[in-house]
Symmetry: C3
Subunit: 385 residues, 3 copies
């Protein structure tokens, strides 16, 4: 079974392969327009996310396939108390590949463990959203021609932003990435990310509260929403929010080829007047998101048992050779590299899928031998023996 | 007009035909993969039922057709007070075949009376759900190789379970079926089913409250959900519910080839540990449900005015001959076999479609001449002259 | 960019072209059945409208294309506060043509201004619903063979009915149209329509409260719903409503070929018994609505940048020549014919898109030089300098 639950399920080489394939799709859309004929993608959106859902729908249709599914839990059987495992088993009778969005952390992982068709995580609570990260990486590659030697600013809510954490994580694997974190002090990057991801891997970073001071050195500025609810104090919010709104004025000091990115939807953190500036890339990101999802669907279906390679006829054989020689690099999901404990530690995270799923074993992995740190395999929460 | 409102609309021979066709689809999916090209199925789900809806969607896509529709009443025009008759007339301008799920009993029948395209009942309140029964019959046939000479246990809520009543009804038409009813005394099979369906037709049955005692003799065990709301007394529920939960332990006494069935979704009445037992058939039922729906769509479109037989080119002519020679057996819906009274008796069932539909005539049929029993043609409720 | 926001965006010749094309589709559906292969239509329904949504879905599928979208705001990103402009920009990464239904007046216009793909207004609040009007015109043409020399009765709520106002507007451009307005005095056609549209253009009309008196002279009777909420007084409603319900009895005095139209859904303003009368056209209207939408999709895609004319192979070249010679007649949307003021007058209409859309300029046009009347370009509300 090949699935994408966490961006780190893919090696750097596999991500390269996806970016290569996405670029080929952009250049030669007709070559791929019937490749998934007769295949069905299931969109299981247990909570609404129009943009992501429609991106997958458009991707599958542009590959010649079909789409089934639901856009919110209210119109699904969840209201009857069915487990994610059962829903997945049922849906794999109907579809060749499953996309799942769920409010509980680890839900996509549970889905992948209960089906023989590939599963794509389209967001599991605050945990992972790997196809957004893939869209970001493709955008950086297409804008800059490389994924290394870059100075990248992250601006806004860096404490809670799932998108930002995932992109930081993915970028630590490339050479010579300098990160600049721009946020109010209440919304700084969490220490465990700075320590575990950056310092341990010798990734250079700096922190500031002032966008204007650092903007001149940035190759990329990644903006995010600042949500009012994050502040204890309404006055602090009002005082701070404008500092992190990107305007044409603030862009004056930036490089002429700096790329402005945003995962969308925005509320008001980028002024509409910036949209026409040639540096604005956030709508290109949307388009790239569709193309990288097309590449991902092809890759996962190619690996799965039930894709019968009918489509080879449609594809330039040379391209296929290039794509297929990477097959061996694809890791199986969930290779057990760590010692595991089953039902000895209970996960106490109320947002974890273990809190609701019927008869699901609580499994913890020993991640850090020295400090004896165990983490839940579904939601990454710490547990103590 | 050919439609499927009640499982008894089809003769035993027609059900055989569907099972034959479904088996051929399973063996030769490509033969059917373009058969409905250019056709559209409308899924009108006035209440949510993800599993059934997606089963029809997958079925239609695997036949090369398209799907339109809605998944709940809130996103339909129902909120504007439109009648089922009008909605059906409108939708038949858009689609070649209609699937309807509605909370009111008789709604699918009203739909079928207001359109020239075939209508499939996907559940009308607590009344009928014939495609679930077809899925059950196909599963029994594929697991056992026959639909006769079987001992079948039904376990759980046998009083309110629409699925169980419909399957009992369908099975009474086959030879040498022995039924074993396993339920708490509060949830026994209703007397009218035992008297009218079983005793009148000399079908042998027995009743018990103990699963373990009868499990050794069963060829098939059909499990159903026990809902807390069905009990007057919470203590009774707690005391009883575990007796009707199927575990590996309780399976110890069963035949090694007993088939375990369940209409799904389950809550906890079958332990997850049973899923891996080779006797578990409930996810195969889901798959069979898709295939029998494919067969049903083909059968009904074939009969309907607006299916132009373009597809013959795709199908092995020998198969088609076999399928088509059955045409003459297909009965028209609503053949009037009984004396009818129009607007002389009023239906008092609040769940009947007559309670909401604009200007709908109340029609009763004389079903039992001796006792002068009249029944509503929509919901089967008794009425008195 | 070619879009359809208001019925008056199209010239009389363009409407003729659409009617010609729709008739050709009705006569030769196979010629068009693959014309949109590989194209995607996005249905953005910010409020539910099943009939209109499914009409567009069916239309696109009958042209061989695909459909993505959402059927209500709750399952979209709107809940996250995204602007219509941003949503449109995102969706145009996924789709080749956009259909939008939105509760705010002017929303479709904002959408059209923010994308390079064609936009179709499927209803923006109480403002416009041009594809309903196109369906009405095609129905009149097919029933009567002409769009001139007609006596047309409008019956019911003529004060608030968007559908009626739009059809009146469209019909004023044809020769020798006589209008008969039949309504309770509380629900008469507004004075600005009578003065600006009818008297200024010398269109003859008369007003009455009695359907029976005028029905003998009508070529067409256009019925509409009377909503209880429109009356200050429940007694008035009860007293009046039956006068405007069409029954077989009231039809006795009508011409034998009078066409009865209704935009649907109806509640009870046309008795079900009228449905079988040969004069009833309201379900034909639904079918015509699908065909005119097919024509509209073809026309707009043909004009747009991203339609590559692949489909010419599927179409009789003679027909294409006929269709394409009309290209030059198509006006660009928003030709500035009037003096405009930007951000000098504020629109105070709470139903206008300017009340919610982020950073949207308030723009007013000078429509009447003598009286110095300015109107909001989004919702047509008057504004004062």
């Amino acid at each position: 079974m090949k699935s994408l639950i966490d961006i780190l399920d893919f090696s750097v080489e596999e991500i390269d392969e996806l970016i290569y394939l996405a670029n080929d799709i952009i250049d030669n859309p007709k070559k791929y327009s019937e490749i998934c004929k007769g295949k069905k993608l299931a969109n299981l959106f247990f909570e609404p996310s129009t943009r992501t859902r429609l991106s997958f729908e458009a991707a599958m249709y542009e590959l010649g396939g079909n789409v089934i599914g639901f856009s919110e839990a209210a119109s699904s059987s969840v209201s009857k108390g069915e487990s994610v495992a059962d829903t997945t088993k049922v849906i794999s009778c109907y579809a060749d590949i499953i996309v799942i969005r769920h409010p509980k952390e680890g839900a996509a992982y549970v889905a992948a463990n209960n089906t023989s068709v590939p599963v794509i995580n389209a967001g599991d609570g605050g945990h992972c959203h790997p196809t957004q990260t893939l869209a970001d990486l493709l955008t950086i590659y297409r804008e800059k021609g490389r994924l290394k030697d870059l100075t990248i600013g992250f601006c806004g809510d860096l404490k809670y932003g799932r998108t930002v954490h995932s992109l930081i994580n993915a970028l630590t694997r490339y050479d010579n990435i300098n990160m600049v974190f721009i946020s109010p002090k209440e919304l700084k990057v969490p220490n465990y990310i700075k320590k575990d991801l950056l310092e341990n891997k010798d990734v250079s970073y700096e922190e500031t509260t002032k966008l204007e001071e650092v903007i001149p050195k940035l190759d990329i500025l990644y903006m995010t929403r600042i949500q009012k609810e994050r502040f204890l104090n309404a006055e602090d919010y009002l005082r701070l929010k404008d500092s992190y709104v990107l305007t044409l004025e603030k862009l004056n000091g930036a490089k002429s080829d700096m790329s402005i990115m945003h995962p969308l939807p925005r509320v008001n953190e980028i002024s509409v007047s910036v949209d026409k500036d040639s540096r604005a890339c956030y709508f290109k990101q949307v388009l790239n998101g569709k193309y990288i999802r097309m590449a991902l669907i092809i890759k996962l279906l190619k690996e799965s048992m039930n894709f019968n390679f009918d489509f080879i006829g449609y594809v330039d054989p040379n391209t296929m050779v290039n794509i297929m020689k990477d097959n061996k690099r694809i890791r199986n999901l969930n290779t057990e590299r760590h010692k595991r404990l089953t039902n000895l530690i209970k996960c106490n995270n109320p947002r974890c899928i273990t809190s609701t799923e019927q008869e699901l074993e609580h499994i913890f992995e020993l991640r850090d031998k020295e400090d004896e740190i165990y983490r839940c395999i579904y939601c990454e929460a710490k547990g103590n023996r």
